[in-house]
């Protein structure tokens, strides 16, 4: 169905995407390292030392998986949303539209580009975290599956946002007003068991809670959420969002007149 030429095209899109964020590394790779260092110093060391233990581990250890996941989510999303919207804005997306790259491979190219930036910043933040806390891994398998699926999900989300965006303001609305609040309320800094029952139930409607907790399980071996439920939910979201993104690209919505 897809020949060698399609895979060369996919490779080209990924190279283009990776080259793009490396070219502007001061805007893409450096900020997460600085921001997350501040999180570790302020929340981990200064405040965390007074908080004491959370679920049997130090507060710093508790927040580490969430902070890594937070950078993976924001970077996967913002890479694709800004790259795809910029390609639309400069009309360089037409380079792909006139060429025989299958729609699926355009989608995969952008998503994998976003995933690669998400993972790279995740690694950078993990290296930063290792300066403050001893990193122990409970399950490499779960860790890798969760981080891969989550970055894939948010990279796809970034593409859907970019397809609908008409101006630069539109690409910052979702990260500012939806993604950031959901991340902060997604159990990065606290266990939902600390919340009253009503707010615990409300928190369960936040998809990021499942990702943060599944990732935390990969590191620490415990989670507020059942792992199978978390993985199942992430998969459902991926299938839904990926299908929507494919439909939008195939129809040419926002990119063809």
């Amino acid at each position: 169905m897809y020949d060698k030429q399609s895979f060369i095209a996919l490779q080209s899109i990924i190279i283009k995407e990776v080259t793009r964020y490396f070219r502007i590394w001061v805007q893409t790779l450096l900020p997460p390292a600085i921001t997350m260092t501040l999180y570790f110093v302020i929340f981990g060391q200064l405040i965390g030392s007074r908080v004491g233990q959370m679920d049997g581990v130090s507060y710093m250890e508790y927040i580490t998986p969430g902070i890594i996941m937070m950078s993976v989510i924001t970077n996967s999303y913002s890479n694709v949303v800004s790259s795809f919207f910029s390609a639309k804005f400069q009309r360089s997306i037409e380079e792909m539209l006139v060429s025989p790259v299958p729609t699926l491979f355009i989608l995969l190219g952008y998503v994998l580009g976003g995933v690669s930036r998400g993972l790279l910043t995740g690694i950078i933040v993990t290296i930063v975290a290792a300066q403050f806390v001893e990193i122990n891994v409970n399950s490499w398998g779960i860790l890798l599956v969760v981080v891969l699926l989550t970055s894939m999900l948010f990279a796809t989300g970034g593409l859907v946002n970019a397809v609908f965006a008409k101006k630069f303001d539109d690409i910052s609305i979702v990260p500012t007003f939806i993604l950031t609040p959901l991340t902060y309320l997604g159990g990065v800094f606290y266990s939902i068991k600390l919340l009253p029952e009503f707010w615990q139930s409300v928190s369960l409607a936040n998809p990021i809670l499942y990702m943060v907790n599944a990732f935390r399980y990969g590191f620490l071996g415990f989670s507020d959420i059942e792992i199978s439920t978390a993985l199942g939910l992430i998969l459902v979201f991926i299938v839904g969002l990926f299908s929507l993104a494919y439909y939008l690209l195939a129809k040419g919505i926002g990119i063809r007149s």
């Binding site: 095209a9 490779q11 009309r91 360089s92 006139v98 025989p100 007149s257």
Partner: protein, 307 residues
């Protein structure tokens, strides 16, 4: 029967609910042809090109590129086409080398071959020394040539150029003409839209004129020009005659203090004009066509259709 590079049948495009950009146009381009697609602004030229190259969704009709329908064999059709659009549509932050090599990749050209071709085309188009410069810093002429290099990187059978020489200085325009003529001689079919009718007359063998979303003419440039029954000339003279002659199918007008404007029917020998001027001791210092011949015809045809 000769092979068709592009076949368009009853192509329609409606923007929104009521803007009929194309009203069922049909025309074809022979393999190896160099054809001009002419028309005033908003006539439907770019929409037609956009549909052929999959940048615009058609409302109805059929488009085939080397017998590959864009409905059923879109990828095969796309492989035959190279597009140089009207507006710059590459990433301003990438270098020419990155732009053309990535484009080759989208067509499935392996990176090693892409790099070789990039060197070939960037050198041919005088861009090799700028290969690592961010493209936003290139001049307008360089950006146009970069888009030509990008369109050729997968070596398409058909090259479509949408006003490629707009805003380009005369020297670069001439060198682009030479390049395109050579490319056509090597077998590439070329479709060109332009507002410079001199360009169409110089380069193209055939012409399709589109106006208000309809094809109003599709013929050879030679045939089109042969239809021009009257030509207007401007003669710079050493003195003006006191009265104008009465020669059948020739009309004299005074243009200014030292020149005359003369309409001459194609059936009349120009010698009769010179004879008369000579009899009246009027020296012709220089002589030129008032306007580009094709331009006159084009204006006449599009005006007639509008009226």
């Amino acid at each position: 029967m000769s092979e068709k590079a592009i076949e368009i049948n009853n192509l329609k495009k409606v923007y929104g609910k009521s803007l009929h950009a194309l009203k069922g146009i049909s025309f074809s381009v022979e393999k190896g042809d160099f054809i001009a697609l002419l028309g005033p602004n908003g006539a439907g030229k770019s929409t037609t090109i956009g549909i052929i190259c999959s940048l615009v969704n058609k409302t109805s009709g059929e488009v085939k590129v080397f017998d590959h329908s864009i409905d059923s064999e879109l990828e095969a059709a796309k492989r035959c086409l190279g597009l140089v659009p009207q507006e710059f549509n590459f990433s301003q932050f990438e270098t020419p080398l990155q732009i053309v090599v990535n484009q080759a990749g989208y067509y499935g050209v392996p990176r090693k071959i892409a790099l070789q071709r990039a060197e070939k085309y960037l050198k041919q188009l005088d861009l090799w020394d700028k290969k690592d410069t961010p493209s936003r810093t290139l001049s307008g002429g360089m950006k146009r040539r970069l888009m030509i290099a990008r369109a050729l990187i997968h070596e398409p059978k058909v090259l479509i150029l949408d006003e490629p020489t707009a805003g380009v200085d005369i020297e670069i325009r001439r060198s682009m003409w030479e390049f395109l003529t050579e490319l056509n001689e090597q077998g590439t079919t070329i479709v060109l839209t332009t507002h410079y009718l001199e360009e169409a007359e110089q380069l193209c063998r055939n012409v399709a004129i589109i106006n208000h979303g309809e094809i109003i003419e599709n013929t050879s440039i030679k045939d089109l020009i042969s239809r021009l029954d009257i030509e207007t000339f401007i003669l710079d003279v050493d003195k003006l005659p006191s009265e104008f002659p009465n020669i059948t199918d020739v009309e004299f007008r005074q243009r200014d203090e030292s020149s005359l404007e003369i309409d001459v029917a194609k059936t009349v020998s120009f010698n009769r004009v010179f004879e008369w001027l000579s009899q009246h001791n009027i020296q012709v210092m220089s002589m030129r066509n008032k306007a580009n011949r094709l331009e006159e015809l084009f204006v006449r045809m599009t005006e007639t259709q509008s009226n």
